[in-house]
Structure formats: structure tokens, C-alpha cells
């Protein structure tokens, strides 16, 4: 075991760890917002929205993340220069980066899984509570905002922790679209120094540590939410 490379690659590793955390944070927060809409569409009465949301979830849960990422990066990416005005807009430097497509793919993917979980949680909210809300004259939107969603999120909370950990474990794939996340850093170190196991071991420790941190944080959150047993 030779770890003498750590100091010369310190910046690359720190930057990679930051990118991994950034991708995780972006995809979990944006994905969660999208998931709320997907779940509402699936439990709602509009057949068009329900069908669309179901199709979305089936597609993103039925295909590998790698294919989705490549579809966005190589597929969509090659069409973007043909969109008029986009090349000169301020967004262009962002749209040329693999990071943008990585965040997009991870977000869309996370939303599909999270949407299904939220849908289940929304259906698990006791009917009586929704009926009580209706009986006191709340509008449909207010029921959703005050009763249905908060209760559903509470019910789904234990599963969210698992989903976030799964999402963290999915992030290394972004190195295949030239994003220098933590795994990308390990990959570069391997190419430079021809050491296979040491860089992998180091980044693995980071992923496992972060997993531990996420589960602990969710445990705290779960304990903070008052429940009646």
C-alpha cells in the first residue's frame, strides 16, 4: 500500500469530494420537488397527468442511469448547438459542461424513484384525516399543502434515507461524462500513478463515511418529527 500520492493530489481529491456532494445535494433537492409533482399527478384525477407521470416513472426506473446520462450528454448535447440563440446566451458555458448533464440525469432519475415512494406514502395517509380536512371546509389545495403532503412526507421519511444513500452510490457514474467527481479523481490518479487499489480504497472510505453521516442525519430528523406510537 502506497499512499504517498495523497499530498500531490490533495486539491483534486478535495474538489472531487465537493463535486460529489454538490451533485448529491442538487439532485436530491431538485429531484424531491419534481417527485412531489409526479406523486400528485399520479394520485390526482386528471388521466392525462397520471398517464404522463406513470410513463415518466416507468421509463426512468426501467432503464439504467448510465443510458439516461449518455442519452442526455451525447444525445441531447449534440442537438443543443442547433437551438437558435442558445450558443450566444449566458447559459452556453454551463450547457457545454458534463456537470450540467450529470446533475440533470441524476435529478430526473432520483425524481422517478422518489415519486413512486411519495405516491405510496400519499396513499397511506389515513382517509379520515383527509375527510376531516374537507369537512372543516379546506380547499383541495389547502388540504394538499397542510395535511396530505406533510403527512405523506412524514410517512415516507424512513425510506427517504435509503433513497439518498442509493443516490450517493449512483453518483460515481458521472465520471463517464468527464465530470471530475471523487471517483473521477481516483480514476485520474490511477491513470497517472498506475496504482489501482489505493485511490479506490480512499474514495470508498469517503463514500462509506458519507453514507454513515446521511443515515445519522436522517435518524436525527426522524426523531425530531413527533409521532404517536
Amino acid at each position: 500500500m502506497d499512499f504517498s500520492w495523497i499530498f500531490s493530489y490533495r486539491d483534486l481529491l478535495i474538489q472531487g469530494a465537493f463535486l460529489t456532494c454538490l451533485l448529491l445535494a442538487i439532485s436530491v433537492t431538485c429531484g424531491f420537488v419534481l417527485a412531489v409533482f409526479l406523486a400528485i399527478a399520479q394520485v390526482g384525477r386528471n388521466p392525462g397527468a397520471r398517464w404522463l407521470s406513470k410513463g415518466y416513472c416507468t421509463f426512468f426506473r426501467g432503464t439504467p442511469l448510465l443510458i439516461q446520462l449518455w442519452l442526455l450528454y451525447y444525445g441531447l448535447g449534440t442537438y443543443l448547438p442547433y437551438v437558435p440563440g442558445l450558443r450566444t446566451s449566458f447559459l452556453w458555458p454551463l450547457l457545454r459542461e458534463g456537470l450540467f448533464f450529470a446533475a440533470l440525469a441524476l435529478t430526473l432519475n432520483f425524481a422517478a424513484y422518489q415519486g413512486e415512494i411519495l405516491r405510496g406514502a400519499m396513499l397511506a395517509v389515513p382517509r379520515g384525516e383527509l375527510e376531516a380536512a374537507r369537512a372543516v371546509g379546506m380547499s383541495q389545495a389547502k388540504i394538499l399543502r397542510r395535511i396530505w403532503l406533510p403527512r405523506a412526507i412524514r410517512i415516507g421519511l424512513p425510506t427517504f434515507a435509503g433513497e439518498v444513500v442509493l443516490q450517493l452510490k449512483a453518483t460515481p457514474i458521472v465520471f463517464s461524462v468527464t465530470v471530475m467527481d471523487l471517483y473521477g479523481a481516483a480514476y485520474k490518479i490511477r491513470q497517472d500513478t498506475l496504482l489501482v487499489y489505493e485511490p479506490l480504497l480512499l474514495v470508498t472510505l469517503f463514500y462509506v463515511g458519507l453514507t454513515f453521516f446521511i443515515t445519522q442525519a436522517f435518524q436525527k430528523l426522524e426523531n425530531a418529527v413527533p409521532t404517536r406510537r
Binding site: 432503464t63 439504467p64 442511469l65 443510458i67 442519452l71 448535447g77 452510490k169 487499489y197 479506490l200
Partner: protein
Amino acid sequence: MNTPHSALDLLSLTPPGWGGVLLAGALATVLISAGAYLVGMMIGFFGALGKLSGIPPLRSLLNAYTTIVRAVPELILIVALYYAGTDGLNRLLALAGVGPVEVNGLVAAVAVLGFVQGAYMTEVLRGAILAIPVGQLEAAKAFGMRPTLRFRRIVLPGLIPNALPGFANLWMSVIKDSALIAVVGYQELALAARVAASNTKEYMVFFLAAAALYLVITIVSNMLFSALEVSFRRGQKPAS
């Protein structure tokens, strides 16, 4: 676009089109997944029995295996095991005085994914065995069934319906995980699509086609697993 071909020309089965390559890739994906699934199921079976056996060193060893494999990102596991596996094998062969061998990509992929699946299978099977009502096992003991007979007649038929939802999830995840094998360079569906796409510069067509093939595989398997569960749960009280 600068190429005059239509999507149908590109996807035709004969060589100017890349459809045949994609289908061969899809077949490789199914083969790798099925192989890894069976290997994983075998590891999972012994793993679950070992965990439930209560032999302390065996149990802590298996606990370490399932915890580590489930905590480390799949991509890292696959890359590390792929290199460590072939490297270790060649070192063993060198000790035995045999020269290094080129490990078959399919075998390596199956072994690596199977090892990963085994950890998840262990947990699914352990849960399924624990969910068998104790009364049934006690009744079997009261009838004087030996452990092997009890396992064959009571535990095995009892655990299958409990384990099926978990099995279905794992099958879906092994199909999707098999795409990661593309990263170490074995040509399954994802890599086949990428090769076709980068040769023709028609990225959208080929990645959409690959996504469609994956969807066909997952949707068909989903229907099969649903039918299997219905058939294994016949005679049981429907869950309320």
C-alpha cells in the same frame, strides 16, 4: 443533420445498420444478468443460512460482507473486483507455475455482479426465512421431521412467496447494474449502443433504442414476476 440515413436504416439488423449489434448487446445483458442473478442467489442462500445458523465467526464474516458490499458504490465495487479478481487469479496461477490468462469478460462480469448481488440476496432470503410463521416450523419438528426434510418441505416452499418481491427488485437492479460493466469494457447493451452511436454520430437514435430495449426487458420481467407471485401465493389469504 449531416447523415442521410433514417433511424430505420441505422437500426436495421444487417451490417450497414447497427440493430444486430444492439440485439447482441441486449442478449449479453440478459445473459450477464441471469448468470449474476443465479450466482447471487446461490451466495445468498448460503449467506442467509450462515447468518441464521448463529455460529459467531461465520455470522460476523457474513455481516461484514453484506454491510461492505451494500455501503460501497456499485461502480467502485465492479471496477475494484474486476481488477482484483483477474489480478488475484493470475497471481494464484503464477504460484502454481502457470502463465497469466486473459479472463473471459463474460465470466468476470458474471462473477463480479454475482458477488454484489449475493449480499443483497443474503438479506432478502434472511428476511424471507424469518417471516415464516414459527408455528409451522414447530409443527414440522413435532412431526419428527429432520432439519433437511424440514428445510425442503416447509422452509423452502414457505420462503419463496415472501422472497419474491425482493427477488423481483433485485432482478431489476441487476439488469441496470449490468450497464456498469460497460465501464470496464465488456460489450453489453450500453456499450454496444455507445459504439454504434459514436461510429454513426447518431447518439440520440442509439441511446433511445438501447433505452427501449432495456424497457422491454424490465417490463416483461415485471409481468413475469407478478404472474409468479400470484401463482406462489395461491391458497394464501390475500393481503389486506
